[in-house]
């Protein structure tokens, strides 16, 4: 991790960190990198890949439509709505 990578991450996450926050993040990532190095040193060659702690697989459902919510209920907590749309600040690339 370095300042350039952090700036790239800020842009990707649409964040604007202050100088102090950037310093704190760089220190945090430096610690993380040390921990990663320690983990990488462990031989995991014969350890099976694990996605989840619990051995649960193939949680699927049938292709059936169930309408459980009305739009008005879902939009109750929205700061702004218009004609049934959620309304957000204009964002054009």
């Amino acid at each position: 991790m370095n300042e350039t990578v952090l700036k790239r991450l800020e842009k990707l996450n649409q964040l604007a960190l202050t100088e102090e926050e950037e310093k704190a993040f760089l220190a945090f990532y430096a610690e993380q990198e040390e921990e990663q190095k320690a983990l990488a040193a462990v031989n995991t060659e014969e350890v099976e890949r694990m996605v989840h702690v619990m051995p649960v697989y193939t949680v699927v459902r049938d292709d059936v439509v169930i309408k459980m919510f009305e739009r008005e209920d879902l939009q109750k907590g929205a700061p702004e709505t218009m004609d049934g749309y959620w309304q957000v600040p204009r964002l054009v690339e």
């Binding site: 459902r61 919510f69 218009m82 959620w86 309304q87 600040p89 964002l91």
Partner: protein, 476 residues
């Protein structure tokens, strides 16, 4: 100027033919009032857990098998980080580490012959929502109906080298996927769209040139124009230094006939893929795998040969039928019932097609009972019902699942063999129309048709045309 070759890879997004969304039970139907097909899960509200729609995996596997892919028997979902209001969770759930299908091949045919296009992978993922930029309020309006609608993305290797090959590849994909009922692949509705990755290089050079990506192309003719423009732009930049080529995502403006830079191309690292801890790995056991494999349809080109060689259809008829799986299914059921291949094909290609056109429906939307169609074909062919009345019955069959023979009996559509009645009608018509009689006798052949039409109308079409004609001539 050097000779250049174009190098193209496609990422084709196909919306799957499911009733519900990929991770929740909301309707996946196209259209509807804004935000009618939504729930807390597809709106990205905290604490909601996605549950995979089994049908999506069925269709992902089906697509993989149709394109000759290896199916990953353990397939997993991953989060792809992407901040934009059309993705309410700020990430897309997709497949990165273990997609459902990998390493396939699609064979295409162009004016230069046959060519195999390699498929890198097919992954299942959710679609994003729709944004409407409102100038009046200077805000963006968000519709989540499309959010979490299931897609597969078919990623090709960069094996395509012309617009003609791209068109052939897309048409082949569309044909196979529609045949297997994976998707309707309707580009005008966005259920099939593609990103075109393009670069150029001097012929003989091994290294690829700078690659640009044109996103969300949803018209084959626009894709052809975009490839012509973009490849010329690349060559011009290299040959004449008109601009510096950079790896980027571009937008194709079909009205202006130009591509425009949108943003620098993201790399895989930018998306920060990681396994989605909320979606359990899907393990495809032998029974599931076999069920899907056994349900695969006969390929269109195999059907075409069988229709011509075994059933004696002409090439035109066979080509028309294999354009659509619904037509093939109806044809095969009608033929099985009637034993009349040519007649069954004719009823579909002419009469059913006319009705579909009148109703502005596509051939894949045909939902007629094929066995009942076979009965209709038979009773028209053996003269039980006239062709004209058969067409009337067919129209009813488009809306209702009826027994055509029973319907014909109940509605007076059975051709009458009652010669007494026919003679009675003919004499009455002749008596009432002395002008046509006089015209015919003075040599005007058309007058006979006028009398024929009037008699047939009186008999409600239920008469053998040759018998009627002979009876009129006898009585003139």
């Amino acid at each position: 100027m050097k000779d250049y070759e174009i190098v193209i890879g496609l990422e084709v997004h196909v919306e799957l033919a499911t009733n519900s969304k990929i991770f929740c039970s909301c309707s996946a139907k196209f259209g509807g009032e804004q935000n009618e097909h939504v729930c807390p899960a597809c709106c990205g509200m905290p604490g909601m857990l996605p549950v995979v729609n089994r049908r999506v995996v069925d269709l992902g596997m089906t697509a993989g098998m149709m394109l000759g892919c290896h199916i990953n028997r353990t397939t997993t979902f991953d989060k792809k980080s992407y901040y934009y209001p059309d993705l309410p969770g700020s990430y897309q759930t997709t497949q990165w580490f273990a997609p459902v299908a990998v390493n396939g091949t699609v064979e295409i045919e162009t004016s230069k012959g046959k060519k195999a296009i390699r498929i890198k992978q097919i992954h299942m993922e959710e679609d994003a929502g729709k944004l409407v930029h409102d100038d009046w309020t200077d805000t963006t309006l968000v519709d989540f109906n499309r959010t979490s609608v299931p897609l597969i993305e078919i990623v090709s290797q960069p094996d395509l080298s012309s617009a003609e090959e791209v068109v052939a590849y897309l048409e082949r994909l569309r044909s196979l996927l529609r045949f297997a009922k994976v998707s309707e692949c309707r580009m005008e509705q966005g259920s099939m769209r593609c990103d075109v990755n393009l670069s150029v290089r001097p012929v003989g050079q091994k290294e690829y040139g700078v690659r640009t990506e044109m996103k969300n192309m949803n018209s084959i003719s626009a894709i052809e124009r975009a490839i012509a423009y973009e490849s010329a732009r690349h060559i011009d930049a290299i040959e004449n230094g008109t601009e510096e080529l950079v790896q980027e995502t571009r937008r194709w403006d079909d009205i202006k006939g130009k591509s425009f830079a949108m943003r620098n191309k993201e790399t895989a690292g930018d998306y920060r893929y990681f396994p989605d801890p909320n979606v359990m790995p899907v393990v495809i056991d032998d029974a599931w795998f076999d069920t899907i494999r056994d349900s695969l349809p006969e390929f269109p080109e195999v059907k075409r040969v069988r229709y011509i060689e075994e059933l004696g259809l002409g090439e035109y008829d066979a080509d028309m039928l294999v354009e659509s799986r619904a037509f093939c299914d109806a044809f095969e059921a009608a033929y099985a019932e009637s034993g009349l291949a040519k007649e069954s094909a004719n009823w579909l290609i002419t009469n059913c097609m006319n009705l579909l056109n009148r109703r502005q429906m596509t051939t894949d939307m045909l939902s007629i009972n094929g066995k009942a169609l076979g009965v209709l074909v038979k009773i028209v062919a053996d003269g039980t019902v006239s062709h004209a009345n058969g067409k009337k019955i067919l129209e009813v069959m488009f809306d209702e699942d009826i027994d055509p023979k029973k319907y014909a009996e109940e509605n007076g559509y059975i051709v009458s063999n009652d010669t007494g009645k026919i003679v009675e009608v003919v004499r009455a018509v002749i008596a009432a129309d002395p002008k046509s009689v006089a015209d015919y006798k003075s040599g005007k052949e058309k007058a006979l048709m006028a009398l024929f039409g009037k008699c047939m109308k009186e008999l409600k079409g239920n008469c053998d045309p040759q018998l009627l004609r002979a009876t009129i001539l006898e009585n003139l």
